[in-house]
Symmetry: C2
Subunit: 212 residues, 2 copies
Amino acid sequence: MTNKSSNDMESAVRVRHSAEERREEAVDAVIELSRERSPEGITTQAIAERIGVTHGALFRHFPDKASIWMAVFDWLGARLGRVADTAFAAGGEPLLILERLFHAQIAFVASHPGVPRILFHELQRPAGSTLHGLARGIVGAYRERVKALIVQAKAGGQLPPGLDADAAAVLFVGTVQGLVVQSTLFSGELDMRDAARRVFPLLLDGFRGASA
Amino acid sequence: MTNKSSNDMESAVRVRHSAEERREEAVDAVIELSRERSPEGITTQAIAERIGVTHGALFRHFPDKASIWMAVFDWLGARLGRVADTAFAAGGEPLLILERLFHAQIAFVASHPGVPRILFHELQRPAGSTLHGLARGIVGAYRERVKALIVQAKAGGQLPPGLDADAAAVLFVGTVQGLVVQSTLFSGELDMRDAARRVFPLLLDGFRGASA
DNA sequence: AATAAGTAAGTAACCTGTTACTATCTTACA
DNA sequence: TGTAAGATAGTAACAGGTTACTTACTTATT
């Protein structure tokens, strides 16, 4: 947001930032650019422009483009982890935490529209690749935490003992992802939070079981 | 799989196919290639190679690359529509149709792993683009059909009258998409059908409502 | 003075689309 | 039926553009 005017006045004020700073700026730039264009289409040129630097300079801070993406994924994993941590930290009954987690996750991707696009993009990489593994790790860890909550709720009697905890965790995570897909398709950010509020009770009822 | 040796023996047997045939072959090639690599990364060169033709020949049958993708989406919309049609045609109670639709959809994408990748890829295109609109239309139409079934089930007394039909439709469609995302991430095709079987009952219980 | 950050101008690879030419099929007609 | 003509499918090579990455040189900071 601070650049864009770097073409006026040439390099009148050649701002110098530390390597560390530039690396963070680059990650932010990628997240922002993902909001507008397809992640695969983000060029090193565009990243450099956005942070107000020639694109040669970018390669002083990253050995290659792949490692820029690695940095983006590190950021992403850390942020998503923190979102979950906060939801857990507030405490309360397992089902309450689950609900908080659900909405927190939705709110996070709603306020960072680039994030789901990056994850979807990752789904297209060959299954073996490093970044695919990273994405897998992030979602997998999330699913495990959800499953733990469900098991806990079963133990506490808030969910029926016959509930398939694995299936429930898959459904929970899948619901978040499904909402993201639909909101991306129908591109209404506010819509997503609203849809989440209406969908969650149904999800919970499914866990509680009607016919069991 | 049948190409790759086209450099031995030169053009020993120059096979000629009709334009119509080549166009279909190209679409098939794109679907197949999407299984392995990112759809955005599929080059006209690769498509041509796969159908055993120089890439100049490809442009005899399509004016440009975009229209290849248009053809792919036509194919996709038609096939997905047919899957839904069959599920409806078999008849029965609304909830039964819903279940059949769910599993049919899952089975289809499980047997065409390239399809979800193409749709995910589409999610990354700028929201206004033609192809984004096509994807939107496909998913939107599907959701409407699901909603109609739910309304019908409410009328027939198989679902509670207080059920939020819109939210339920979103959840239903979202569940399919969530399963696809997870199976792509954890790349087990068989896994997806199994997960679908375990998840569906939970979904249905959610519709029936536990607390209402 | 030394080091870290930045620039400008490459380069090699690759990608879409074009063009000038060639081979094959179809069909009209002698 | 045989063949010339026209249409159709295919090829090879290239043009123009973009992309990731490099290199030789410049400027700021400590």
